[in-house]
Subunit: 352 residues, 4 copies
Amino acid sequence: MRMFRNDYSEGAAPAILDALVRTNYEQHPGYTEGDAHCERARQLIRDFVGRQDVDVEFAIGGTSANIIGVTGMLHDWEGVICTKDGHINVHETGSIAACGRTVLPTQDADGFLSPAEAEKVWQFQTSTGRHMTRPAMIYITDTTEIGGVWSRERFDDICDWAESHNLKIFVDGARMASAMTSPENDLSIQHIAQRASAFYLGGTKNGMLFGEALVIADPDLKRAFPFLIKERGGLMAKGRLQGVQFEAAFDPANYGEAGEPLYYQLARGANACAVRLRDGMATLGYEPYGHSASNQQFFVVTPEQEEAFAEAVGSETFYTLDDGRRVIRFVCSWATTKADVDELLAFAKGIA
Amino acid sequence: MRMFRNDYSEGAAPAILDALVRTNYEQHPGYTEGDAHCERARQLIRDFVGRQDVDVEFAIGGTSANIIGVTGMLHDWEGVICTKDGHINVHETGSIAACGRTVLPTQDADGFLSPAEAEKVWQFQTSTGRHMTRPAMIYITDTTEIGGVWSRERFDDICDWAESHNLKIFVDGARMASAMTSPENDLSIQHIAQRASAFYLGGTKNGMLFGEALVIADPDLKRAFPFLIKERGGLMAKGRLQGVQFEAAFDPANYGEAGEPLYYQLARGANACAVRLRDGMATLGYEPYGHSASNQQFFVVTPEQEEAFAEAVGSETFYTLDDGRRVIRFVCSWATTKADVDELLAFAKGIA
Amino acid sequence: MRMFRNDYSEGAAPAILDALVRTNYEQHPGYTEGDAHCERARQLIRDFVGRQDVDVEFAIGGTSANIIGVTGMLHDWEGVICTKDGHINVHETGSIAACGRTVLPTQDADGFLSPAEAEKVWQFQTSTGRHMTRPAMIYITDTTEIGGVWSRERFDDICDWAESHNLKIFVDGARMASAMTSPENDLSIQHIAQRASAFYLGGTKNGMLFGEALVIADPDLKRAFPFLIKERGGLMAKGRLQGVQFEAAFDPANYGEAGEPLYYQLARGANACAVRLRDGMATLGYEPYGHSASNQQFFVVTPEQEEAFAEAVGSETFYTLDDGRRVIRFVCSWATTKADVDELLAFAKGIA
Amino acid sequence: MRMFRNDYSEGAAPAILDALVRTNYEQHPGYTEGDAHCERARQLIRDFVGRQDVDVEFAIGGTSANIIGVTGMLHDWEGVICTKDGHINVHETGSIAACGRTVLPTQDADGFLSPAEAEKVWQFQTSTGRHMTRPAMIYITDTTEIGGVWSRERFDDICDWAESHNLKIFVDGARMASAMTSPENDLSIQHIAQRASAFYLGGTKNGMLFGEALVIADPDLKRAFPFLIKERGGLMAKGRLQGVQFEAAFDPANYGEAGEPLYYQLARGANACAVRLRDGMATLGYEPYGHSASNQQFFVVTPEQEEAFAEAVGSETFYTLDDGRRVIRFVCSWATTKADVDELLAFAKGIA
């Protein structure tokens, strides 16, 4: 049975892999500088997000993109506000602190950073002047850690709040493609590009071997990025690999019948499988954990079911509830098929 | 009226100042190395805490002592568990993150780090292996941020827990003298010295111009301290100043009738004033915030009272409660007298 | 004409690319943990270097490998001794300082770290105790920055010196394959594995898309690596990509007629082209800069020749000599052919 | 005999100590904020250096002042150019690297940073773009590490060079008073204040217990300082101590017959002793090492003389020359008298 462990279990989507193979013997100068693929990918992304004044740069993965995005926009004594389950707060081994900056978590419990909770952090952190880390930016994730999709209203609310406090806005887009193509999404990447100081389009979790494309409007980060990416060990010698993959992902030649970039097509397929899985599980009586309309689906199960699913499809456990039940996660990727979902549902039925 | 703003409002206690003046024209090599005062202070402290195998070193203040104590016992990817109101978590401008390490706060609300809450942090941080900062030490404060005094039972419980998880134990003793001489204290400095990997005896808040004496049992910190204190900008050229002050504070010649070091006498006086203040305020109907038997006393007051006290005696506001009332703090020092307390109480009566 | 700019101009060597394509649709857990390719690559490397007690881990590139290798073996106040042209000293944007450690360069001018110059740094840095960064490791590169190949005698001399000073030994092996297969090499990878605290086998510059395999004997680095690689943004989600490539590079199935790993075959080819180029250039009267028996060759040329070669084959300029002449570099890779070399030589003849 | 080991062997000069004693029982809010002494000292210094638009802030010592001055004016990927013997390069245990920034030393051998050597570093560091640390400031010291006094011409030359490269200018003034009152000085503090982005007036080495006053024109450092000083553990709780001392040092009431601040009077006395010592030693046939017209004097002596002087007056050894002779240093302070000098000269005569 196909694993539903995560969206980076497989290698690259076929069209991405083909592009890598096809260009393998070309010679390029390296470091994402001066090669046609990186340049074209940059331009395709600028066109797609609708801003010509942004820099487009490449990172090898989400942690690297977050390190550079956050530290490139903060002074030493400044901090970044995010939800307590924010990836940079809990799942990146203290990478922001390792670069000397402080993460300032709110008490938001649903994965969405809210103006009300952010304001509490702001009030607290600015209450004793220099004795506390100064908030200077917010970090949000679309989709959230538990699969939530930001609505335009919610996004504008937090951006309004941030701007009113003179804070920069960073959007971790490791699963941006899944968010943008969610059936419930009403927020466009063009709108994000208008408001965010910087954000990224994740490739690793959407059919590439690796790679995230940072879109940078903030002048401080524009200036810092080329140096930081090298200093922090994230600059690929064969940088063209990132250009080739993002070029394929946004190349109009790959729009096909869908009329949209491969980047969205891949995510749309994963989302469709995830929604099919969600609805099928509900029919079988499984309790969802939160509401997700993206490629990650969470369910509350018994310890016995937890074990059975883990063995069968590699699902991971996220929380143990007070009553002893477990919250587990299924993730669909570009490679997941409806047949895979149905096979999982049949298994789930057997242990319901 | 005397300010009750904090315990570092005045300069040095008379006997400390006398020692500085008396030794002012001596010549010493500098950097706390090879001068008789530093050496004698070290030996007096080793004798007093009852361990000859510890290193005694000097820092210029609490933040510097915390930076070096914490970073000297943690690898880059490790973190320190403390309560959410721990000084290193909220009041030192991200100094631990600035040195690349992560603070891991518990949800303890009363200032005491509890095994139960620490265990939750431990479980969470070790749940996904390398993806999370590894806890490697605990940080506690005696007295706590809100004036609490650790009992021996409570202290042993958290030390037992830490040892069972192979974590180092660091005790911030910025107000250690106030804790040890509190009427409710049943924990000895000798016992702390037996269990802590490192701790310090605060001078700044107990009648010195500045200076904290670190007592170091941990071999990693022993090796690191001499370099870290210089690297982090905390090594005084005229290091003898710290030796002279701690020598005076622990010199048997200054035990007097009290039969205890000047270090304890100064704090005992401050505590007596604080308890007199606490009890007087209670009689006047003021609501205490938490229970303190040390030199800091917290009360819940109206915004009008907050303002009046701030103007009269420099009290600081710590929290605004949901009902709009404020938590303010009065602090007594070695310089506070009973007459000062009575004057404040008379003022408090007028605005009760 | 083929570029001779560097050894990371192309994508992957055919057998490496084939392995990636062949395994692309497999599912693996991620992060180099628990997938068969990483595990097998680790074992193949342990077998090849002749030590079963080492950890084998993967980094995405040389800078990342250096950051983790160096910081994982140094405390905050310690430093690493290397030559003044050492890659970590000049070409990685201060990455070691960015992690809080200090690079301590010697005055060695030929790329080889010598005991005599290292001793001078040691003497100086330890002359005023805590006021100076303490040397705790040495960093060497094989091949050196200018293509030099370490002899066994030279290597043993510096290792003896380092051990006598209780310093750890780190070998940057970004071009280790070229060194080991150089016609002048008499040092075996098995010998390096016996003496180095850690070293790495570079993949990026030897026919892989990316990836360096660290071989770790040092217990501190063994413990640190899993956390540091994540904290520093270098842990690949699709970690299997590194396993697949190194598995192919060391798989006995790929030994073929050469009777040696593909990893060596690729480098041997590059070296053969480089030596052909070197000898051909000498015949044409070009002046070599230093002596190289590896895949990088340096020559002293006129500004006109510099420009012509840069345009024709992408050669880079390393130095401008006092007389105005330039030192340029040609690099051969696994993809370079004898025909490519002869074409370059023909061009060189035209402008000699 | 009086030690000539350094200028921080004694405590405070009498007038400084008196000010501390006189104000000891005053109450102040702490942290250099809102107390009359810090405010008055700030204004006296602004008036003295002739700029009202600068911020004046206090650090506890030179290393702390350097850490904050340098890191507050550099981004993570930027570096500071200084001479190879610059204090931040060799004598502060890697403190700049510990804060993530890189020191970029020139080959200047006389302690003065020259435009020619600085230009070489600039050319090298900017030759490969993002692969190298970007120079963003220069660091100079007046007096230099070996007692040199900057002339106005020399100072203007390096400032012109720095400005032409858009680099900030930082002047370490640990011994600024000695420089400004040197018989050979033609550079005014007012001129430095016009050109430097930031500089400091050292107190530790000029008759204070401790303390350096930073004069900050640079807007980035102005904004950073209040937070950095706390984050880096350098903010004194009893911050008034620094204010009291600098107030006394610059108080017109202390100008006396000399018609200049105590700050200069103290240094002028030390310089006079040093020049008397220098000339006396020359008469005795001792060889000076370099030329100094400030309070540090260096001589070339035999190993036997080295040992005899070290025992007699605590002189320290700086270098061992190739011929085995030693360079030793004598330092005069505000406390040194002509009689002390003559006693040393008599001793020197005995072993000449």
